[in-house]
Amino acid sequence: MRGRPLLFTSYEADQALMPTTTKKVALTVFLVALVLVPVYDVIPFAPDFLAKDDWLKVLTNVMIFAIGALGLNILTGLAGQVSLGHAFFMGLGAYTAAALGAPEGPLVGLGLPMWIWLPAAAVVPALVGVLVGPTAVRVRGLYLAIVTLGLVFIGEYLFRNTESWTGGSQAGRTFPRFQFRFWKEEEPLVDFSRKGEWFGIELSNEAKTYILLLGFAIVATLIAKNIQRTRVGRAFQAIRDRDIAAEVMGVDEFRYKLLAFGISSAFAGVSGALLASFVGRTIPERWDLLLSVQFIAIILIGGAGTVTGTLMGALFVIALPRVVQDFTAWLSDKIDAGEGIIAKVGDVFIATSGDDFGIVNTLPGTGPGLSVFQLNLVIYGLLIIVFLIFEPLGLYGIWLRVRNYWKGWPFTY
């Protein structure tokens, strides 16, 4: 029935992704806006700084982390199983991709095309996830966190010591590029890693890679959303809310927990493979605890259990360092220029030279105060604490609150 958004005559309509025309239009506009980011410099009124290559790289990173975070969100947000082992599965995905997709050389590499190595990067971690799952499924809460923590360290050790696969500690290895081939032809059919002309528009390799990964992120979002709103997703949520009650209702706890591990690991594997390919050369130490914590930060800051929140979290957490960096750079420029209230206040916080006192240090190398990188860690930590205490639903919760304010208009309840 038109114009009656609350009248559902079927469960399909009740669970529809885009129930109203307004939502359809809004989402289409948003997607078009995302696709057009690389050409923002020629579109009037668009924020043209985003179209610069360095910002495109940041956005591409957001997409990659979003895919991984969607996976962790299914395991932690939906099924309620805290996992610190996400980095391990990402590494596994990355090295699967490398072994299959990287050109033949001193290290293992079969030079197979992307349509083989990318799905394999999902399947192998998923299988391993299901294999190690049974040990993890037996424990819950804090104990599960410790078990998965162990996984990260085992993984790191393995990666460091399987040198013919990973290149070994400190050396690392290269990963397959974003090129599309049918089989092992010389010239790739579509090459995302070289600049070129598409539909009469000259695009840099960053722009092409951005568009490719935007596509992957959209597909991953659709899959995550569909898992969430179907039987499997409901089973996960039942287990999260109360595992015993879920079992009483007929949800096979063991099976669904394994499934959650499997799905989550598949997302992680793809994300890891994409990340490694995007960066190009990566050392085994890349897949460490810090990476896992970053994902935990994404889903907690974004809003555990919600797909939209996870995407918001990915944008926030990945873009934050860049914003902080730009901000401190802008501030130290101001301070160097001297006068003005901003310079005075900023000077207290920022150390611009070796003997200057400041909480944050913009100088290269070590100095008094925190580096920008350390500052980011502090901000993550603070944000996680603040969100857990004051806004458990994360950024999404804030959005919900804003939305409900207008939804309730002109009343409050």
Binding site: M1, G3, R4, L6, L7, F8, T9, S10, Y11, A13, D14, G408, W409, P410, F411, T412, Y413
Partner: protein, 627 residues
């Protein structure tokens, strides 16, 4: 026959008199795949098309034939509103039986009275609760042969009782009968006559036991032609159509809901949406956003109170907007009421601005955003309430009628409304005021056949020249519109000899969100007094905000602060009335009034006699020192 439906060429059997059943059959022919009914079940609105509706009716009708229902036999229905209610109702009419509806709140004693008075042969008890009621009194119901139950749960105890049959089994029985005797129901329908009694509608019985008013097929046809399809009732004279949505939530055994749901659906085809229960009406309203909405004053008062209270509870910024919105609504309401219910150019501009900022959202929240016509009737309503809704842009019209004349009497036509009146008589009907008493009397083909098995009561209901005595006192306003003064037997004559209508004062009191029940007393006394029942939720909320602790309804009612609050309401009302109509004293009713305790009728009307007996000491207390 309505103008909308074209009659099909019927093969074989001849056409009977048009009944509710034949209308449904015609819709099933014309719009087989269009939605006819919707019921919320397992969280979503399940749809029933006209074809499915009619097929189920046919199965049920054959089921009734299999149970041996002969023309004129009574089938009683004791259930909340649900598709099975109307299906069995229509099936009964199809086999020329007589439907008797019971209120879900009827206690066992009343069930016993209604079933034995009507002599029902087949009874539908919705669930275990209603089945228990009938089983309590089954021994005094010799005519009752079969009890159909719709809910399977809780019937283990009656599993081996051959008198019980589950709804699905009943339909299966019908299907078998249909296979064995194809066309038997159609045969019955072809034999239908104008004079067939189709339903007994029991009057609510504010005095004495309920009486079953016999309504015939001709009565129903007349009500459909006038109440539903009369020219000029709806905006733009766009008659009800299959595009319209109706929310069915008032008891279907009441003539008002029967006309505005079942009969409107049959005559003009709007979709009936069955509310889950009376408690979820506000939620269901928001979901359905009906285009045609009929409600009794109690519901309008409740929506009005909800809006005011939620607006007051809103956060600061919203509260400012809300206050502004109310100001605009007040202006629009005044303009429209002065203009026969139509917008003036001034009110239209204010409304257009207000619509953007508040009215659209507000109407969406209360579920009346798409409402093109709203009606109120069945009891008196305070004019302020109607004006308030006009201010929000909702076309709310008061109309008047009663069971005995198939609700055909007066209506406020679109654009010709006069506030405080019940409107103009329908075109072509006989309606007059008794020159002596001012009683409204009607004469037209919608007037009922008589009371079931009560010829003496039937005789009392008519004047010597055959006009129906409605029992309501009215006056003409501007020679065209009728204003109801009160029920003839409610009119208070004070010891000073003044005639006073208590309803008007009571309704004015009830416009306050704090007052749920009000009963004005003073017949044969020196001055007027009142019994007041508070709206527990609202006053409770009010008390909590002021930090007044309370426990029960009675405790809250008797708080000095609450009495002071009500005194304020009384003072406010007294300002509107002349000196003799002032309420000098009042007392709080110490309990929530209830149908099962006998203070209210099934339609939530006060039983004045019962009230006077029950709270006699309170009343005497108010007059004590002066006697």
């Amino acid at each position: 026959m309505t103008s909308v439906v074209e009659r099909r060429e019927t093969p074989g059997v001849g056409e009977g008199y048009p009944t509710v059943a034949s209308h449904i059959r015609d819709w099933a022919q014309k719009l087989p795949d269009h939605v006819a009914l919707r019921e919320k079940d397992y969280g979503i609105w399940q749809e029933i098309t006209w074809k499915e509706y009619w097929e189920t009716v046919l199965d049920a009708a054959h089921g009734l034939l299999a149970l041996g229902i002969e023309p004129g036999d009574r089938v009683s229905i004791h259930s909340e509103d649900r598709p099975e209610w109307v299906i069995l109702d229509v099936a009964t009419v199809a086999v020329r039986g007589i439907t008797v509806g019971l209120y879900p709140t009827n206690p066992a004693a009343e069930v016993q009275y209604l079933l034995s008075d009507s002599g029902a042969k087949v009874h539908l008890a919705e669930d275990q609760e209603q089945a228990d009621k009938v089983m309590e009194v089954i021994d005094s119901l010799p005519n009752l042969e079969k009890i159909i139950h719709v809910e399977p749960r809780g019937f283990r105890e009656y599993r081996n009782d051959p008198r019980f049959i589950f709804w699905d089994d009943f339909l299966e029985l019908g299907r078998e009968h249909r296979k064995a005797h194809p066309g038997a129901v159609e045969q019955r329908m072809a034999e239908a006559t104008a004079d067939d009694v189709m339903t007994l509608v029991y009057t609510s019985g504010t005095t004495g036991p309920p009486k079953g008013a016999m309504l015939t097929n001709a009565n129903a046809k007349y009500a459909m032609d006038l109440v539903i399809n009369v020219e000029g009732r709806l905006p733009g004279d766009k008659k009800p159509s299959p595009d319209d949505q109706i929310l069915t939530y008032l008891p279907l055994c009441h003539v008002a809901e029967r006309i505005f749901s079942t009969w409107t659906n049959a005559a003009a085809g709007p979709v009936l949406n069955f509310a889950e229960s009376i408690e979820t009406v506000q939620q269901n309203l928001r979901e359905i956003q009906p285009t045609l909405f009929f409600a009794v004053p109690r519901i309008w008062e409740k929506i009005h109170a909800t809006i005011i209270i939620k607006g007051r509870d809103a956060t600061f910024f919203k509260r400012l907007w809300f206050a502004l919105g109310l100001k605009m609504a007040g202006f629009i309401g005044r303009e429209r009421v002065a203009n026969g219910g139509l917008h003036t150019w001034k009110s239209r501009i204010v409304y257009a601005i207000g619509y953007l900022f508040i009215f659209r959202a507000l109407r969406e929240r209360i579920g009346l955003r798409r409402c093109r016509w709203a009606g109120t009737g069945a009891a008196a309503i305070a004019p302020e309430v109607i004006q308030f809704f006009h201010g929000l842009g909702i076309n709310l019209y008061e109309l008047y009628g009663m069971t005995e004349n198939s609700a055909v009497a007066t209506v406020n036509f679109y654009g010709r409304m006069k506030l405080g009146t019940v409107g103009e008589p329908y075109p072509g009907i006989g309606l007059r005021l008794d020159p002596e008493t001012g009683e409204i009397q009607t004469k037209h083909p919608g007037v009922f056949k008589g009371y079931w098995n009560k010829p003496d009561k039937t005789a009392e209901a008519f004047t010597e020249d055959g006009w129906l005595k409605t029992g309501d006192v009215g006056v003409w306003v501007d020679g065209t519109h009728v204003k109801i003064v009160d029920r003839i037997k409610h009119i208070i004559i004070t010891s000073g000899g003044k005639n006073i209508s208590p309803s008007e004062i009571e309704n004015s009191l009830k416009t306050s969100p704090y007052v749920k029940e009000a009963m004005v007393i003073g017949d044969g006394r020196k001055y007027l007094t009142a019994l007041i029942g508070i709206e527990f939720d609202v006053v409770g909320d009010w008390a909590t905000r002021r930090g007044i602790p309370y426990t029960t309804y009675r405790d809250l009612s008797e708080k000095p602060e609450v009495i002071e609050l009500i005194q304020g309401v009384i003072d406010e009302t007294n300002k509107k009335f002349s000196r003799v109509e002032q309420i000098k004293k009042f007392r709080m009713i110490p309990k929530e009034l209830d149908h099962e305790d006998g203070e209210l009728t099934a339609t939530q009307k006060l039983k004045r006699k019962a009230m006077e007996e029950m709270f006699g000491d309170l009343i005497e207390d108010m007059y004590g020192s002066d006697r």
